[in-house]
């Protein structure tokens, strides 16, 4: 593995992502749309990175490029110092960069346990029995006991999302890519899954690339919040969230949280207004 000056020695601190001058042009029916313009980000290994921006601004484009679902038109993306994608090269999706989707993508035809063991069993890196043992152990730690034989439709949406995160972590990914995973949830369920994700992050220290347009969620969860401009997307502002971990709901009342939130809102508001004027959907 070419490590070229990036730290990858420590198992726990893998997953550094360097996005260099990435540009993406969509070309649906002839009209070129510049979705991402010369965007650069440096996400260090083990960072909880949250990307915030107006709807349709190109956040998901970046995530899809890292995941290997779409190519980019210019620039480079490096993962742990290795070149991952350029305009010529699109990586295959792989278990080192696992995506948790907006609407959830647990296979409804498999039980929870079959879903969680899917990665290692498909890749052939673990015997089915071993994968099941590991999955049950992991789910036990995560407070997901007693549902392993249920189908996804039989458990609550909050539970489904947690199972999906467990399914991703079974593969020991370098980076966890979360594309507005809690978007469709009610406020109560959200608080539960937020705490869950924080606990998981404290435990596994996996690099997380989290897309949202919920500012509270961004500050509550993230170590750094990257605020993007409206299309064409580029980084407008980076906010360091200095609130120490482990975190819980009590930080929502802290002055530090309020300060960050105000800063975030003023930055995002400008972009939201621009996006609104440009005829985009509201935030």
């Amino acid at each position: 593995m070419n490590t070229a000056g990036f730290e990858t020695a420590d198992e726990k601190s893998r997953g550094a992502i360097n996005i260099r001058n990435v540009t993406k042009v969509y070309d649906p029916d002839g009209a070129c749309v510049l979705a991402v313009d010369n965007c650069s980000m440096d996400i260090s290994a083990g960072e909880f990175c949250v990307v915030v921006g107006p709807s349709g601004c190109g956040k998901t484009t970046l995530l899809n490029a890292i995941a290997g679902f779409h190519g980019i038109s210019g620039g480079e993306i490096y993962l742990d110092g290795e070149l991952l994608c350029t305009s010529e090269r699109m990586p295959k999706p792989g278990s080192d960069r696992i995506v948790v989707f907006q609407n959830g993508a647990l296979f409804p035809w498999f039980t929870v346990l079959e879903n969680v063991t899917f990665g290692p069993v498909m890749q052939g890196v673990m015997a089915k029995k071993d994968a099941e043992d590991k999955a049950l152990h992991m789910m036990g730690q995560m407070g997901l006991q007693g549902i392993s034989m249920n189908y996804p439709s039989e458990i609550s949406s909050g539970m489904r999302r947690r199972v999906e995160i467990a399914r991703a972590l079974m593969n020991n990914p370098r980076v966890l890519l979360l594309d507005e995973p809690f978007r469709a949830m009610d406020a109560l369920t959200k608080t539960v899954v937020h705490q869950f994700l924080l606990n998981v992050y404290d435990e596994y220290k996996t690099t997380i690339f989290f897309i949202t347009h919920d500012l509270d969620e961004a500050i509550f969860l993230g170590s750094k919040v990257y605020i993007m401009t409206t299309r064409p997307a580029t980084i407008k502002k980076i906010l360091e969230v200095t609130i120490p971990r482990p975190r819980d709901f009590r930080i929502l009342a802290s002055p530090e949280y309020q300060r960050l939130r105000d800063e975030c809102i003023s930055a995002v508001h400008e972009e939201a207004v621009k996006a609104f004027k440009a005829g985009e959907r509201e935030m």
């Binding site: 995506v99 035809w109 909050g158 009610d186």
Partner: protein, 303 residues
């Protein structure tokens, strides 16, 4: 927030608290579940309305044909005449519950449908799956499918007789055609109905092309496949009767046409009702097999 929890509660799911151990979800046995459902069903008005509807139709049939003898209906055999013949040990026209011939006709029709349907399923499902899996293959085959599919089965009769030696093969071929296209199309639609995110998730989790085929495409398309099989079973019976009427020597379709020409009208009704019952049963069998294979769907519906 209160409404959210109430809504969740009503659906039988609970929002777990962090750290608190989850109560294992209770699994009710299939048999008990069936009993409970049966009890509820018997308490609901449905079964009685079902019976009432059927009885109403029988009464209508009886009144129009046997009591009032209305102009349009006077030539038709009534329910008592049909039932007399059907239950007779010594039927006037040779077809009743107690004659071997009746079962020969049923047997041969079922056997033809079975062969044709099995062949259509064994060919149609893989072709449909493959069309959905490989775009190139779909590009080659889809226009052909779309031109051949709307051709009515009856239009195939002459070709089928020209092509195949003997009646048997041509009837089975006609029946096969009827069900084949419906199976292919529904399987293809099934694959195309699978949300893109499942393909992405599987690829992201490191599944190979072949694994995606067997673990995403096949199970994901299964609900559509089984809907398609029920439709294709209907088409199979439809085509079978058409084929038997034109070229048959045995079978329920032949029996209907032959009884018409021989003026044995009650037999027509007997054969028609028999077709209806067997058709429903074959559809039911497909549904039961589908439910067996798709426990996840059954449990989803139970939520």
């Amino acid at each position: 927030m209160t409404t959210d929890t109430v809504a969740n509660g009503a659906k039988g799911v609970s929002v777990g608290l962090p750290g608190a151990p989850q109560a294992p979800q209770k699994q009710t046995s299939d048999f008990r579940l069936t009993l409970i459902r049966l009890k509820f069903w018997l308490k609901s008005p449905s079964p009685y309305l079902n019976i009432l509807g059927l009885a109403g139709f029988l009464l209508f049939w009886y009144l129009t044909t046997e009591v009032l003898k209305l102009p349009l209906f006077e030539k038709l055999p009534g329910p008592t005449a049909t039932l007399d013949e059907w239950l007779s040990h010594d039927p006037m026209f040779g077809i009743s519950f107690f004659t071997l011939e009746y079962y020969q006709h049923i047997g041969i029709s079922i056997w033809r449908v079975f062969q044709a349907f099995a062949l259509a399923t064994m060919l149609g499902v893989p072709i449909g799956l493959f069309m959905g899996w490989k775009k190139t293959f779909k590009d080659y085959t889809f226009p052909l499918l779309e031109v051949l599919r709307p051709i009515p089965m009856l239009a195939w009769v002459p070709l089928s007789i020209l092509m195949w030696p003997g009646r048997e093969a041509s009837i089975v071929f006609l029946t096969f055609l009827g069900s084949f296209f419906a199976t292919v199309l529904n399987t293809l639609l099934g694959v195309e109905s699978i949300d893109e995110c499942y393909f992405r998730a599987a690829a992201s989790l490191g599944a190979s092309e072949k694994q995606i085929f067997s673990k995403v495409i096949v199970p994901g398309a299964l609900p559509f496949i089984f809907t398609g099989l029920q439709i294709s079973m209907g088409y199979a019976w439809f085509s079978l009767v058409a084929g038997e009427m034109l070229a048959g020597e045995f079978g329920l379709g032949y029996l209907i046409w032959n009884s018409y020409t021989l003026v044995q009208y009650p037999v027509i009704i007997i054969a028609m009702i028999t077709l209806g019952v067997i058709g429903s049963l074959s559809s039911l069998i497909i549904r039961l097999v589908g439910d067996k294979l798709m426990q996840w769907k059954v449990r989803e519906a139970a939520q």
